[in-house]
């Protein structure tokens, strides 16, 4: 009986989980933690579905929950860093194995962009490069969305260029 609900929620998960992971990654800078946080976000969203007033804004609502969960994660991290400084030294330090240094750098650079621009990139590149879907998730007009996306891309290109010059 309940399978119907879960199946529908799976569809939502397929559509939005990569986006939520990307939003969480902006805080964790670590893919494994971002995946864990995203799972938690979907659990919480499921619990709170009845509180969602406008069903069309599910994506925006989910991103809001993700941001809040990220703040909690940060606070808990600070707390546990203090509670057991020696144990938690590892939390921020363990590096992920870079798959491709340029791509890895690009991912890190995205986390340094202003929030709105980050979200524009996440929504666009994680939702099939569709500006229409992305702008809906962000609640922007088409032209407004393109402006933000363009700004993000320009800034990113500049940052990558600067970084490459520094490496040289």
């Amino acid at each position: 009986m309940f399978a119907g609900d879960k199946a529908a929620y799976e569809k939502l998960y397929d559509r939005y989980a990569p986006l939520v992971r990307a939003v969480c990654y902006d805080t964790t800078c670590n893919l494994a933690d971002a995946q864990d946080l995203a799972q938690d976000v979907f659990m919480r969203a499921y619990e709170k579905l009845d509180r969602l007033r406008n069903r069309d804004s599910f994506g925006k609502w989910l991103v809001g929950i993700a941001r809040l969960r990220c703040k909690e994660w940060q606070r808990r991290k600070f707390q546990s860093q203090n509670n057991n400084a020696r144990l938690t030294e590892v939390q921020a330090v363990v590096p992920e194995k870079p798959d491709d240094s340029r791509i890895e750098l690009l991912r890190k650079m995205i986390t340094t962009l202003p929030e709105k621009e980050r979200l524009a990139l996440h929504t666009f590149y994680l939702q099939g490069n569709s500006a229409e879907t992305a702008r809906r998730t962000m609640g922007l007009s088409r032209s407004g969305f393109y402006r933000v996306l363009e700004r993000a891309r320009n800034r990113l290109e500049k940052l990558m260029l600067e970084e490459q010059e520094n490496i040289r």
């Binding site: 799976e10 990307a22 979907f42 703040k71 400084a85 590892v90 363990v94 690009l106």
Partner: protein
């Protein structure tokens, strides 16, 4: 046509799809069965509606307009007309009261999307702010700021602990937000909307329109004191609403309200030091150590203010342990903090060593840690059963990583 940056971005974002099917399966398996709490049909249709591709633009617009009306009705805001000429209070009178106040309290509600937080806020000009949580998804109860010394405290009453950190203008800084609001109030752009009813009470209403924000102030027509201040703004397509209500000016406030109570332990995140209002003893160390076996399969942790040197392998092991203890309670976290504090407060030359990695809880023969109390020839050794015995220096086990 895709540029090289597009290609790189698509590749960078691929990583967020890693392990997706497996993660989906795990999530679905752990979703609670709430069928008893919800009507099945309603719930399924509610969920399936989200997955529909069509966005009904007109309906959304209608919904948005309806929402504004509903919010106004819920708040009891009732514009009953009236002209500025009929108002007995001018904005200058209200502003004068606001500027003159040295302290104020109000109920602070912030709502963005479906997330709502409510606090009782106290401000003592020019630096002090305190928020007592009334409704929030967060787990703390009180936060305090001193904008003069740039310190922020979060209080955890159940463990009588205050966590203090440097406050570098982070979010939720209401004292600065209130200062910005006052600046807006001085810019001469107010519109007097005349007499209105607010929750059945007579009020004079003033409105300010900023770039993305509408600010409305309701003031008492007799005293010119603000009753309620509301800010509605748009951020990334989300409507953010901030309401300050039940505003009271010049309430007497003791400075002690803005510092942690004297019987609280202070955890300073900047210096990583803990100050306690009581003497730290062996009992605190034992209680701190005792927290871990419950979460680590009956064993003590790998490092506890000391232990095996931090190699990459040790870091990974510690990280896995941190993940396991993430669900500990505030009380358990506090016990661990006080145990660490006991070690950190040991005088120089105490020669503390932690060797508890993988020691089983209850093992009465294997040491977990030791130290030499001031002036003592023997060491205090804690064993796996958390008993403490005095041991001669020559009888201490060899520490592998200290071997020469």
């Amino acid at each position: 046509m895709k540029t090289p940056l597009d290609k790189d971005l698509n590749k960078a974002y691929e990583s967020f799809n890693q392990n997706h099917n497996n993660l989906r399966q795990k999530l679905t398996a752990s979703l609670p069965d709430r069928s008893k709490q919800h009507k099945r049909a309603g719930r399924i249709s509610h969920l399936l509606a989200f997955t529909g591709e069509n966005i009904m633009k007109n309906r959304m617009t209608k919904l948005a307009a309806a929402a504004v009306i509903i919010i106004a009705v819920m708040l009891g805001i009732n514009y009953i007309g009236g002209s500025p000429d009929g108002a007995s209070v001018a904005w200058a009178d209200v502003l004068e009261k606001i500027e003159a106040a040295r302290t104020l309290t109000y109920i602070f509600e912030i709502e963005k999307g479906d997330i709502k937080e409510v606090f009782k806020t106290r401000i003592k000009e020019p630096y002090l702010q305190r928020n007592d949580v009334i409704e929030s998804p967060s787990d703390y109860k009180v936060s305090m700021r001193n904008a003069g010394s740039n310190k922020r405290w979060i209080l955890y009453p159940n463990t009588k602990t205050a966590v203090v950190n440097n406050d570098e203008g982070s979010g939720g800084d209401e004292i600065r937000a209130y200062e910005r609001l006052k600046k807006d109030f001085r810019d001469g752009t107010e519109k007097n909307l005349g007499r209105v009813k607010l929750n059945g009470r007579d009020a004079i209403c003033f409105e300010f329109s900023k770039a993305n924000t509408k600010i409305t102030v309701w003031a008492d027509p007799n005293t010119a004191l603000p009753i309620q201040i509301e800010e509605i703004s748009e951020e990334n397509g989300d409507i953010k609403k901030v309401v300050r209500s039940d505003i009271r000016f010049d309430v007497e406030m003791d400075d002690q309200l803005f510092v942690p109570p004297a019987d609280y332990s202070i955890v300073d995140l900047a210096t990583q030091r803990v100050q306690t209002p009581f003497e730290l003893t062996e009992k605190h160390l034992i209680e701190g150590l005792a927290v871990y076996p419950k979460y680590l399969d009956g064993k003590f942790c790998t490092r506890y203010i000391g232990g095996r040197p931090l190699t990459e392998e040790v870091r990974k092991k510690c990280k896995a342990e941190v993940e396991k203890i993430e669900s500990w309670s505030d009380e358990e976290a506090n016990k661990s903090t006080l145990g660490c504090a006991f070690i950190e407060h040991l005088p120089e030359g105490s020669d503390f060593q932690y060797v508890g990695e993988d020691v089983k809880f209850g093992d009465a023969n294997t040491p977990v840690c030791w130290w030499r109390p001031p002036g003592s020839k023997t060491y205090r050794v804690v064993y796996g059963d958390l008993s403490i015995r005095d041991v001669e220096p020559g009888d201490l086990p060899e520490v592998p990583w200290l071997k020469k």
